[in-house]
Symmetry: C2
Subunit: 335 residues, 2 copies
């Protein structure tokens, strides 16, 4: 069996079953994400799907195009976090320009919820997915991608899956923050991090540690706190750090929630400890505290990701690409 | 022709056509929002739809329920504004609990865009709509409501349409702000307002003016500025007000964008002019400036609205209701 690529040949699920040497029912179950399929059989089905260029059938297609235009799914971490809602606004604007509506949902940093929401979006026959992944594994999306639903990841790359991603240069951002503080004479730098299972936290923390090491600054585990996911947790950690016998002379907060937590403590203590924070926020310039920000364009990330997704939906078939957006260090407030 | 109410009788489009005395094609055009239908005929069709209790046919229903669950549309003003994204997060949480996905879009305060987006959502057979209206007239939704798509308005009531709405007590909020300032001896109070075509602005401004009048404070048109939609516009207006021969001794900003604009100017001028702002924001407590907020629960507004919508989707047929959420005055920052 061969296909001419451009020709009218359209492989069916039966073709896939024949090539994979499995039953039609097994193909259907793999394509429809039934979780109980034997992994070896699933592999064979996906290989056959890939080889034959199988796509969902025309019935599904016609259902999808019943309305005047399609939908695209957007899964972010939390709609109420300005970083993600700004990213969502960028994606929504691009979707509108493509006469497409956006189905939006929040994973709340829960991998199981991510999986449930994305597969539910796929069942609704979205034209494509924009995803900030929360879980440790995105293998479950492979079948969906193989049958023709493009997926673009935002802010964090997928795990165990080849797909497009739009990221920011976390390493460059963290390095620039540490070098900025070192240049101002700081060596006792407290670093505040969210959960290390979040990709951006791992990238930022390891780049910060590498920059400190390159500068010959001794490693001080008591100045590095990770696992801080809420503002109260962050504030307790900053309090403890400042009350320790050998407190930091500057802080580097790896995301906006951590920056706000630190600012609350510094304000209450009338401390003018130097603070650098990753992620911009609307009121940064109004802060009474000297504040330098590792800034990047969250709206642009949403827009670039959505544009890439629409090119894929329109049939662009090049290999998966990763776009990395730059960061800039900005002195937002002189305090 | 009569219906028993609870019985299995299901009126068809033909029944509607017969009762209205129009062609089937006219009924179809009214139900599907074709804009060129003669208004008198459209009225007759809608009256018949109402009388017969006509609902979209079962084919549409079955298409809607093909996937495991439904969708609901949410139209807000701007996803990147924290007030609206917090409201959206409340609605999204409620939708998830009802196994429903949210299609989200921003009107950007444009009535034409509102209409286009909502009718597009209807064409996708959403189960219902949550709407922050931007335009001056929502008559265009009447046919959709009559054929069984419930609509709940958020933050602003609809115009020329009877439907559910969840609002906040704008009058109480504005009164409490003015009384707070009067009690502290202020009589020259500058009031900053967005476009007066926005319902909440009209409500807040008129309540503020009434409270000043009740207190016997002379009317000073130079201290009232409306039409301020962007931060730069607000900043220019505040500058002018402060540089005038008889400047205000306090400011009342009628939304969060106006509050941030005013704070920027006061910060730059190192002014400690008293400021009260409508709408809470995440970093209010961190402001270097004394700041009192007319606060309310935007997430709750989204949640309450969505819960009301799901009750309507589940068939609750009571008359349209308006829920009004309270505001509280909170001293967020002592500066």
């Amino acid at each position: 069996m061969s296909t001419t690529g451009e020709g009218p040949y359209r492989p069916t699920m039966s073709d896939v079953a024949r090539v994979a040497g499995v039953s039609l029912k097994t193909v259907s179950r793999v394509v429809n994400h039934v979780p109980t399929v034997d992994p070896t059989l699933a592999e064979r089905v996906l290989a056959a799907v890939s080889e034959l260029g199988f796509r969902r059938n025309d019935l599904a297609r016609s259902l999808r195009s019943r309305s005047t235009s399609g939908t695209v799914g957007l899964l972010i971490e939390d709609l109420a976090n300005p970083f993600y809602s700004t990213m969502a606004a960028g994606a929504a604007q691009c979707a509108l320009e493509h006469d497409t509506m956006l189905i939006t949902a929040s994973s709340e940093e829960d991998g199981e919820r991510e999986r449930t929401l994305l597969l539910e979006m796929c069942e609704r026959r979205v034209g494509g997915l924009l995803v900030v992944p929360a879980g440790a594994d995105q293998t479950y999306l492979r079948a969906e991608i193989e049958v023709g639903t493009p997926v673009v990841f935002l802010d964090r790359p997928p795990t165990n899956l080849r797909a497009d991603a739009v990221l920011i240069d976390n390493g460059q951002g963290a390095r620039s923050a540490i070098e900025y503080l070192l240049a101002r004479g700081h060596e006792r730098i407290g670093v505040l991090s969210d959960w290390l299972r979040i990709y951006t936290m791992r990238e930022r923390l390891s780049a910060a540690e590498a920059a400190l090491e390159r500068a010959g600054v001794p490693y001080r585990p008591d100045l590095i706190r990770d696992g801080l996911h809420t503002v109260p947790e962050t504030q307790a950690a900053v309090q403890r750090m400042l009350d320790s016998p050998n407190p930091p002379t500057a802080l580097f907060a790896l995301n906006n929630r951590l920056t706000l937590g630190a600012l609350g403590v510094l304000n209450r203590r009338h401390s003018d400890l130097m603070l650098v924070g990753f992620d911009d926020f609307e009121t940064a310039a109004l802060m009474p505290h000297p504040l330098t920000i590792v800034s990047y364009d969250a709206r642009e990330m949403g827009r670039v990701g959505a544009e890439l997704l629409f090119r894929r939906i329109d049939g662009e078939g090049s290999r998966p690409q990763t776009v990395v957006l730059p960061t800039t260090l900005v002195e937002r407030s002189a305090g």
